[in-house]
Every structure is written in C-alpha cells, then in structure tokens.
Symmetry: C3
Subunit: 346 residues, 3 copies
C-alpha cells in the first residue's frame, strides 16, 4: 500500500473534525487502537474500547466529545467518529485509479456504445447493444450476454455475469460471482410436469447500489426486478424475480427474498433471513438474522423469529414439547376454569 | 424484443383455448393486466385480480370459464390460464435461435465428440473425452475439465463449471455460476485432523433438468449423485454428494440437501430449507420455506418448522421461555394431578 | 479411471492393516459393499451394513476387529476402517499428476514470482506482485487481481477469484466459484445513507485448508480474516470480514459466519447454521445444522436451536401458540399460587 501522508490539520479539515493537540503531526495510515503506531490514525466508537484508547500508540485518534479527555494522543473530535474514520481512510488509502484501457483479449461487440475513460479487463465478453457510460470499470472475466446500460462510474470488480437485460445506475459496485438477469424460478404445474414461465422483464439497479460476492438477482417475468438507490446487498444473497427493494435498504449475507416481494426504504434485513414471496415490508422494517418472514409487515421496527440456542439435550426436550404447545394451552385453560369452579364452590 | 404477431385465432388454436369475441385481433406481446395495451395478451389466474381485469387495455386475456363474462376484451378461455399464458408467451416471444458456431477463443480438446448444430461460446474450455450432442449450447466462459456427456439440446447459459465426471440428459438448462462435479465434503477424523475422502462418483442429471444460478451439485463419493427427469432447482442451492432427487421435484432458492439424502418424486422443497443427510423423503412431500428437516418423512403432505415472527421484545420473552417449555409441561401436569386430588377431596 | 493394481498384502502394508485370508488377491478399485466385484476393495464402518457385508462380492473388505469374523472374503483389519479406506482409495485411485505448464492463453504479469513445477491453466489472469510456490496448480479461468502468496502444492481447482491481498499456506484446495478477498459488508449510517468502510486487511489461510464451491471469504477491514491450519469449509459458505477460525475446524455447507466472530479450534459447525457477528465460540464447540447462534459459547459440546418439523396444521397451531408462551408461563405460575392457597385453606 502506498501511503499518502497528511497532517492532522489537513485531514481534520477534510473530515470537518476539531483538533485537540498538535495539528502538525503527520498521518500516514489507519489502524485499530491496538495495532496503530507512528503515523497511524485510529478511532473509538464505544466505551468498550476505552482501555485500548488509553494504551494506544496511534499518532491521532478520532473521538466523540465524550472521550476527548481520555485520549492520550492528538484527538480529532467528531460527532460520528466511525463515519469520520471511514472518510479519513479514503484520503489516507485512496483506491487505485485505473487506467482507461480495453485489454486485447476483451471481446466487445462493435454494436456497443462505450463512454470515455472506461476500463475493460482481460477475457471480458460483451455482446451487442450494450451502453457503458464514462468512467466505468469492467473487471477481468466479466461476461455480458444481454443488452445492458451502465451509468457513470459503475464498477464490475471481476467475473460478473449479466445474462438478461439490465439497467445499472451510477457508481454501482458489483462484486465477483454476481449473476444479474437470469430467468426466475417461474414454473406452472402441468399434470405433475413443470412448465417454464418465460421471463421478459429486466433487472433495474438505482445509483450507488453495491452487490456482494455470488449474489443472484433474477430478471422479472413480465415486470422488472427493481433495486432502489443506495441499496447495499452483501454476499450470497438471492433476489428472486419481480422483487422490489426500496432506497437505502441494506441486506446482510445469505438472505433470500422470494418472488414479487416488496421491501420498503431504509430497511435492514439480517443475515440468512428468508422472506416469503408476494408480501410487503414497510419502510424502516428491521429483521434479525436467521428470521423467517412469512407475512407482510406494516409497521417499522425490529422483528425476529426462531428459538434460543441450547445444549442439545435440553433443546431436544424442548423442541419435542414444542410439538404439543397447543395441547398444553388447552390443558392450562381447563385447569384455570376448574380452579375457578373449585374456588367459588369453596 | 422482436414481436411475432399472431391473430387471437391462431394463438388460441395453438394453446387449445376457446375464443370469445373477435378472433381476428392481432396479438404482438404478453403483459400483465395493468401494463397491457394494444396488441397485448394478458391472463387472470385468481379473483384477486378481477378489478384489474375489468380495467385492462389488453387486446385479449386468457381466462378460466369462471371469469369469461367479466372480461372487457377478447377472451381466450382455458382450464389453466397461467399454463396457457406461459405457452402463448413462447409463441409471441420465442427465445432467440442460436447460430451453430465454435468461437475462435474457445479451447476444445481434439479428443471430444461434438454433435451437429452446436454453439460453443467465447473463452469456453473443454477438456478431453467430452461428448456434446446435437443442438447443445455452451455459453461464454464455461469450463469443463472432466469427461462429460451432454444430451441433445442441453444449454449451459454462460460461465458454468464442470469439474467432475457428469452425465446430462436432453434439454437441460444450466445457469451461470453453477458448479457440477466438485468433490463432496467427505472427511474422516484422524485424531483431530481431517482426512479427505476420495470422490470417485459422478453427477447424473436426467432430461429437462434446470439448475439455477450459483447452485452446486457435488459428485458422489463411491456412487453417483442423481437428479431425476424434470427436476427444477432454483438459485444458490447446495446438493451434497450422493443425494438422489426423484423425477419432477422442484427445489426453491437457497435450500440445502446434505449428503446421501434421498428425495422422492414430485416433491416441493421450500426456499432456504435445510434437509439433513442420510434421510429419505417420500414422493409428494412438500416442505415450507425456512424449515429444518431432521428426520425421514414417509407420508406425502406439507410440513413446516420454525416459529412465527414477532416484534423483538415479545420474541425475546417467548424465545427465552422456549428454553424451559419442558419444565412448564411438568409443572402443568403436577397442577393437573393436584387439582384432581383437591377436586376429589372436596 | 485408470486402475493401479495392488495385492492385498501391498495395500494392507501401506495402510497398516492386518490381513485375514489370502494376501495375494489383486485389488484394482474401491467400491461400496453392494457394488463391489472382482478386484474391488470395500469397507464397513457400522453394524447397520452387516447384511451387505455378508453378501458382498468385493475381493477384500476393510473391517474393524469386531466384524472380522463376519467377513465372507479377505479382510483387512483396521482400528478405523473408514480412515483406512480413504487412504487405500488414494493408492488405488491416485489423483492425476498434472504436467507443469503455463497455458498460452494465461495472462501472468511479469512482476510475479512463479515457483517450479507450477500449472497455470487456460484463461488464467494473474496481476502483479503474486508469489506462487512450487507445485501449485492454478486451474482454468482463475482470476487473481491482488497481490497474493501461495504456499507449496496449493491448488485452485478452476475459476477461483481472488480480489484482495491473500496469503495461502501449503496444500490448500480451493474449489470453483470461490471468491477470496472481497470487501466486507462494512457500512456506516450517515443520516439514512450508507457510507462504505474501506477494507485494508487481508485473507490469511493456513496450511491444508479446503474451501468449497462458491464459498466467499471477505478480507478484513483493518485486521485480517484468518482461517487456521487444516480448516475445512464446505460449499456455499459466507465468511465475513475479520472472522477468525481456529485450526482443524470444519464448517458444513451454506453456513454463514458474520463479521469479527471468532471460532475456536476443532469446532464443527453444522450446515446452514448462522453465527452472529462479534461473538466467540470456544474450542470444541459443535453446532447442529440449521441452528442460529446469537451468543458466545464458552463450553465445548453440541448445541442446537429451532423447532421440530410437523405437518403444517399442527405446526401452525403450535407456532401461533409460541407467540404467547410467556403469557402461558405467567398463567401457570398464578394457577400454582392459587392452588397452594386453596390447598392450605382446605
């Protein structure tokens, strides 16, 4: 990594932080409180790390007002230290600028519209009728076999596959192994034999969408599958046909959203949760990891399902009892009635 | 999309529907009730869309007898409108015929048997002893490093990887990111160190199998992993070594089937459900999404596990109580006995 | 498959087994008890297969002392028949030796350090500053766009993608579709808009690590994501940023480990289980398949969560009741008190 040195003063100015201590100290890299040494910039976001703050060898630490007094080194005070740290890191470790370039092994159909300052890596395949805007990056081994449009500055990191008509907004980041625009799982039962439903819709991604490793987003059947602006999808996610995801929703790894479900804006879907098809989640809904969502949710808030983890013997006893909770209820209600009768008759 | 115009008469004839209204109306495309306009063919499969039917601008709608009277435009009556619609869509939007062709960048071992009218796309790699039947399509970036046989008309959409000996039937569709024939997760514990079990079996797919994006099917250890005719697998599924899946079973996204499990014919496995290894599911078993199947099932029917979703506070209370349901049972049983004693002694 | 014939004597010697019967019998292949015929070596590991043992046509069977008398053919006695069988299989079916070779279509940056006897397959892309040790195998279509180090004898089977700085030990096996070193899912909320956290850490794999099909291991944010020696990961697994996995732990398919979680040595994580972020599992912890782990575990042992599978009607009644178990508890406790009062007042 090449370090871009900044003085505390310069960096604090860029991230709108207030300096306590020498503003002339040089910063060369970010690190956590424990590992940071000379030139290192660190941060503290929770009092759980106060001990580490007191022992840090970092040259400067981004802190909230509350911890400023505890900081043994130069402090940069910010209302949101983690956010400020994320921004500072981008100054100290800027991502490498790519050099616009079409690799000689790339196979790009002549009937494509390629903007300025575009990178097309080795072994990329792009079929006809694609429109790639300026400053896009199409990493090694990516394959595009359907007409697509990519907004400015969008990045396919490497080995992304797009096989159905797809619209991407600006500044999207699509990670390796992602597949966009495949046919959805649309089947009709014809006397016990499955008949495939044709898929004619598109995948539409807004601006600033990030799609994690090996995530799949299927194209719509008749309408489109739509991912809103600023949506962040982690790795190994399944987005089925005709799903709609509202702006700025984040979905953690291994989650699955079944067909035609609509998720609101600013939702947070926990890892490995599963959301049934043809339901609707309101704006601001948050789902815990490993939860099963089988019905629409109309109110924002945090929702969970599942049982607590136990040692296997206890679990087995309880999981077996679970099979007759309903009976237990009835038994308890009868007891309650009997007791009332008995109580009155006393 | 290129539209293939048909008259209502021609199309109704092909899908064996009965026309009510002008049979000479031209149809150019399919669309849902809301979006359809002149030339559009739509369908209605449930009375939940009756309102939309009444307002549709479609030129024709496929309906069941029951809704025929409500149709404001030309109706094509069918006993299964969704199925008829799927078929009609294939006439109006036929999938593009590929042109048989071996791309100059494809690397095909000379010791392969390639049938007539085969497409082999850019950057495809095929190693020795492969047999590709007539009318197969091997999409861009696919890699085959083991001896395989592909039946007539089978399609690898793009970037499919086959690394173990594999037999595919006719008319299979394998989507991007699929990996067939990898070693299974077979390990023996040698005093705390895992020793790998050799995998010598194959992957065997029947006819008309569809395998979704990023699904993995491991080869068998000694015997084969076998997927029956007409089986449909959605995206992101894991099929472990030596699994056997019966004909016409459908498995939804993110499900996992552990090693040596046998699933019957005409089963439906819900999304993100997990099925333990070394068990057996009878023909016609259906499993709800997000269910855990830990034991064999000998009777057809629909099965589920898990708990209902709740707001996090209620859930936490109940999930905590779950840990002592067994105690609660015993408490209730004692109460019942005591009450009986009390009742008698009254 | 090419068979390497051994006599029972030769093979028993190699796997340190004791022969009962003719040591001169020729063995050509492994097979299970049912399918084995002349030249076949089989094994029995559980009395559940005793019937098959008695009918086997195998030329020899690896058995424990306990079953030796029941073996109708030549027996090779071993304290751990399955382990001995795994080893014998490697002699009878040795994996093909590759021929060191850089395929003409491979694109390897000149600023890389490539050891002796290395195979680099077709369409491989390797960027600058990579160090590949002797006897490594980089299968077709693999893409490495970041500086990596590969220890001796490590294998990328095919189509592996590495996009962040990665250290691999010796003798690792990385299966197709694996993505190493992608950015983790690190986001900060900036007034409802997600800001991406830079990822500067590495992926570090120990020796003898196996990573299954389509598994993703993200690079760390500030520190590294670390996978210990001898760790075995199955297919479709998600390992988030900064996870640490102890030596000789095995994780089954479709499991997910969220960010910064630390898993001990010799753990076994069941298929499709989900482990929350920022927790710690002690050495020797085992988790059942489909379990949700939401808290640290400090004691070794087997843990589970979830409910038993039921027919949907029963399940629905019980799952609904689950929503008010807490109320039920309170009701039962009140009943208990009332009954005591009643009992005393009798």
């Amino acid at each position: 990594m090449d370090y871009m040195p900044y003085t505390v003063h310069e960096l604090a100015h860029k991230i709108e932080g207030e300096v306590i201590g020498s503003a002339e100290v040089k910063l060369t890299h970010v690190a956590d409180l424990e590992d940071a040494n000379v030139g290192g910039l660190s941060f503290i976001a929770s009092n759980q790390y106060l001990d580490k703050l007191k022992k840090t060898k970092a040259s400067a630490v981004i802190v909230s007002q509350e911890f400023a007094a505890e900081c043994p080194t130069v402090a940069i005070v910010s209302p949101n230290p983690y956010l400020s740290f994320a921004r500072a890191a981008k100054y100290l470790h800027p991502s490498e600028k790519f050099v616009a370039h079409v690799h000689p092994t790339a196979i790009v159909h002549k009937d494509c519209d390629i903007g300025e300052n575009v990178f097309i890596g080795p072994n990329v395949v792009i079929s006809q009728k694609c429109s790639i805007s300026a400053n896009c990056y199409i990493g090694a081994g990516s394959i595009i076999t359907a007409p697509i449009e990519m907004g400015e500055g969008t990045i396919l990191v490497a080995r992304v596959t797009i096989v159905g008509p797809t619209l991407m907004g600006e500044r999207c980041i699509i990670h390796p192994g992602v597949v966009l625009g495949s046919d959805g799982f649309g089947l009709v039962d014809d006397h016990g034999v499955w008949e495939k439903i044709p898929h004619l819709g598109r995948v539409v991604l807004g601006d600033d969408v990030e799609v994690g490793v090996n995530t799949a987003i299927d194209r719509g059947a008749l309408k489109d599958t739509v991912i809103g602006n600023g949506v962040k999808l982690d790795n190994q996610i399944q987005i089925a046909h005709n799903v709609i995801i509202g702006d700025h929703t984040a979905i953690a790894g291994c989650a699955g959203i079944a067909g035609s479900t609509e998720i609101g804006k600013h939702c947070q879907i926990g890892a490995a949760s599963g959301i049934k098809g043809h339901i609707k989640l309101a704006d601001g809904v948050r789902i815990s990891g490993m939860s099963a969502v089988r019905q629409s949710i109309s109110e924002p808030g945090l929702y969970s399902s599942g049982t607590a983890l136990q040692d296997v013997k206890s679990w087995l006893r309880n999981a077996t009892r679970f099979k007759s909770i309903d009976k237990l209820y009835k038994q308890v209600n009868e007891l309650t009635k009997k007791l009332e009768v008995l109580d009155k008759g006393k």
